[in-house]
């Protein structure tokens, strides 16, 4: 939990957004984040974000599923309770393939989605500050942290020079907390 002061600038198209992100990165202001209503390709590179490693998690969960299925079935068929099915070998790999495949997919998908929720810090009951109600509609919102060393007037002048449709300054919680979205006003009162 850390309450901070932020300056936001909203854009109504991708073109001024990219220009603004470019300028902010060169200006030395502390870019907190950019909120967009849909995935904007190239924005992560423009902001200097690294590529996500989420697929690595998917791979690890996947092979966990593969080995769980193969290990469990092999153990049952060969040592725990071997059953003679029409004289076929106890360890019959081809018959294990369908379940092994399904469990690989199941583990990879479930594990990846949980990792995704953890990394994005999303869960039912999680509340985060929404800088602009239209950030999930049609506005692209650039959020800059106002630190102690930031000259606020200069920052606002700078933001206004990047063709935004709206700019303002907000005091907000930067992380997430357990809360409700219908209690926004109460949270604002607490901060003020």
């Amino acid at each position: 939990m850390a309450v901070k002061k932020f300056a936001i600038a909203c854009y109504d198209d991708e073109a001024p957004l990219f220009d603004a992100v470019h300028k902010v990165r060169h200006s030395g202001y502390k870019l907190h984040d950019v909120y967009t209503p849909f995935p904007v390709h190239g924005l992560d590179q423009a902001m200097g974000l690294k590529e996500t490693d989420l697929h690595v998690a998917g791979f690890i969960f996947g092979i966990t599923g593969t080995s769980t299925a193969l290990g469990f079935m092999s153990w049952i068929f060969t040592s725990d309770w071997p059953i003679n099915y029409g004289g076929k070998p106890f360890f019959s790999l081809p018959a294990m393939i369908p379940i092994t495949f399904e469990l690989t997919v199941m583990f990879a998908a479930v594990g990846m989605v949980l990792t995704y929720c953890y990394l994005n810090q999303i869960m039912p009951g999680v509340k985060k500050h929404v800088f602009h109600p239209r950030q999930s509609d049609d506005l692209f919102v650039v959020v800059i942290e106002v630190t102690e060393g930031t000259d606020e007037a200069e920052l606002m002048n700078f933001l206004n020079s990047t063709n935004p449709v709206e700019t303002n300054v907000q005091i907000a919680e930067e992380g997430w907390w357990y809360g409700r979205f219908d209690k926004e006003e109460e949270y604002q009162k607490q901060l003020a």
């Binding site: 974000l49 399904e102 219908d182």
Partner: protein
């Protein structure tokens, strides 16, 4: 900005020169309005069907499986027919969301949300049948490898029926996760627009606190891509494994290597038909004609004619193989199938599945709403008969003529089937009222390259000379 150049020959995927704001408003409208009388009427009818289905199932569980028309010769009747039918319908959603995503088919964005919802509800309906067909449904959990006091005695992992348990449950889980992970940002959109406290609270919960930072979206795209990659073999595996229920047996008429591809094609065929049935209604009722355009319906009709023809070739191949194999049992099985007491079901299947989709070779008919709607229902009637043909009309004459029998369903079987319609449409109506039926974020994502405006701009570009074109392209960013 967008390096993607889309030819003006392609139809726009979103009509009506929409802005981002229009997209949000149009898709959220049904959620923010009071539902129409038609919706309430549909919900009441669906709940009545569901109630009757629940009573039929109660009757079967209370008195035992004997209240059904199945007998010693025909152990699988309407129950497994309906199971395969619903699972087949459940294939289109993940095909649209996964395989078409990997193939970069942008038209999927208009239809994927509703198609995935349909998949999930169809799989829910499908799952009921094998569970209640067990008779002693309270022992159903022993299909899972649960520890028990008999050893523990494990299920037979060599059995195709057990593979089915894993395939269907994995398919359901992965489809649900895929669907819901796409819904999270759209719930956030509804939450941020919400005027009432209750809506803000509930959609706040449903949106998991999503805010849409650049990093969130980056992970979102990585997740969709990997889930699509996982779902692609999964969707093919599920109906393959369903076909193994038949193909790994030694029953003439079932013991065929053509079954997996034939079942998968049939599943896609019936699934796309059901998507067409539902979306033609949805676009009309919720006025979403600009998002689910004639182009979308035509694209699905093209898939229907392709898969319908594949299914047709599979039917003919089965007959050919019966003759070519020189196995008398195989030949007899197919002779009875085509000409025996159930000849009507075979010919109903042939007419609905092989003949009727051929009309879609004509562009006029592919783009005719009423015709597409009627044909989508005809196709699903045909696909139901296909499963009935495969199941009942293969089992009814087995190796011993004294066993030969005939099968008709009783009212609890009929009620059970109608009940799954009730379940399906109850879920779908609730979905269409409370969930965004079109993926809002994904439509916005393709709007700039495939909307009406983009097409006008591209049309203007085409008029320019090569030098001017290169100049504009280089300075596009």
């Amino acid at each position: 900005m967008h390096l993607k150049y889309e030819s003006f020959i392609r139809e726009p995927l979103v009509d009506g020169n929409k802005t981002y704001k229009d997209v949000t408003a149009d898709i959220c409208r049904p959620i923010e309005q009071k539902p129409s009388k038609l919706w309430y009427f549909g919900l009441v009818v669906s709940l009545l069907f569901l109630g009757f289905g629940a009573f039929s199932v109660f009757w079967e569980v209370y008195w035992g499986i004997g209240v059904w028309g199945i007998n010693h010769t025909i152990g699988w009747g309407w129950d497994i027919t309906n199971f395969v039918w619903w699972v087949g319908i459940g294939h289109a959603g993940t095909l649209i969301s996964a395989i078409l995503l990997l193939f970069r088919q942008h038209w999927r964005t208009g239809v994927n949300r509703a198609a995935e919802a349909m998949t999930i509800f169809a799989v829910m309906c499908a799952g009921q049948f094998p569970i209640f067909h067990m008779g002693r449904v309270w022992d159903a959990m022993y299909v899972l490898p649960l520890p028990n006091t008999r050893g523990p005695l494990w299920p037979n992992f060599n059995s195709a029926l057990l593979w089915d348990v894993f395939a269907i449950s994995t398919y359901f889980t992965v489809s649900l996760l895929f669907w819901y992970s796409g819904l999270i940002p759209d719930f956030a959109t509804i939450r941020d627009r919400a005027k009432t406290k209750l809506r803000k609270r509930l959609y706040g919960l449903a949106s998991f606190g999503w805010t849409g930072t650049a990093k969130n979206w980056q992970r979102f795209e990585a997740l969709s891509l990997v889930l699509a990659g996982l779902s692609t073999p999964l969707v093919l595996s599920v109906h393959t494994i369903v076909s193994f229920d038949f193909a790994t047996s030694v029953i003439p008429g079932w013991h065929a290597t053509i079954f997996p591809p034939y079942f998968v094609a049939g599943a896609i065929f019936s699934g796309f038909a059901m998507v067409n049935t539902l979306l033609i209604l949805v676009r009309k009722i919720y006025h979403l004609e600009e998002y689910i355009t004639m182009g979308h319906i035509e694209a699905m009709n093209k898939v229907i004619v392709l898969t319908g023809s594949i299914v047709g070739i599979a039917y003919l191949t089965e007959l050919f193989m019966a003759w070519y194999s020189q196995v008398v049992y195989e030949q007899e099985a197919f002779k009875w199938r085509v000409l025996g007491p159930y000849w009507w079901s075979y010919w109903a299947m042939m007419t609905c599945n092989v003949v009727s989709p051929q009309f879609f070779w004509f562009k006029k008919l592919r783009r005719n709403i009423v015709f597409s709607f009627i044909l989508s229902i005809v196709v699903n009637i045909g696909m139901w008969f296909e499963r009935f043909v495969i199941i009942a009309t293969t089992l009814y004459r087995d190796y011993i003529p004294s066993n030969w029998s005939y099968y008709s369903p009783t009212w609890p079987e009929l009620g059970f089937y109608l009940g799954t319609f009730g379940l399906f449409f109850t879920c779908f109506l609730l979905f269409s009222k409370y969930f965004p039926v079109i993926a809002i974020a994904e439509i916005k994502f393709v709007l700039k390259t495939t909307g009406d405006k983009a097409h006008e701009d591209n049309l203007a570009l085409e008029e320019k000379s090569l030098e001017e074109f290169i100049h504009i392209a280089e300075h596009a960013h």
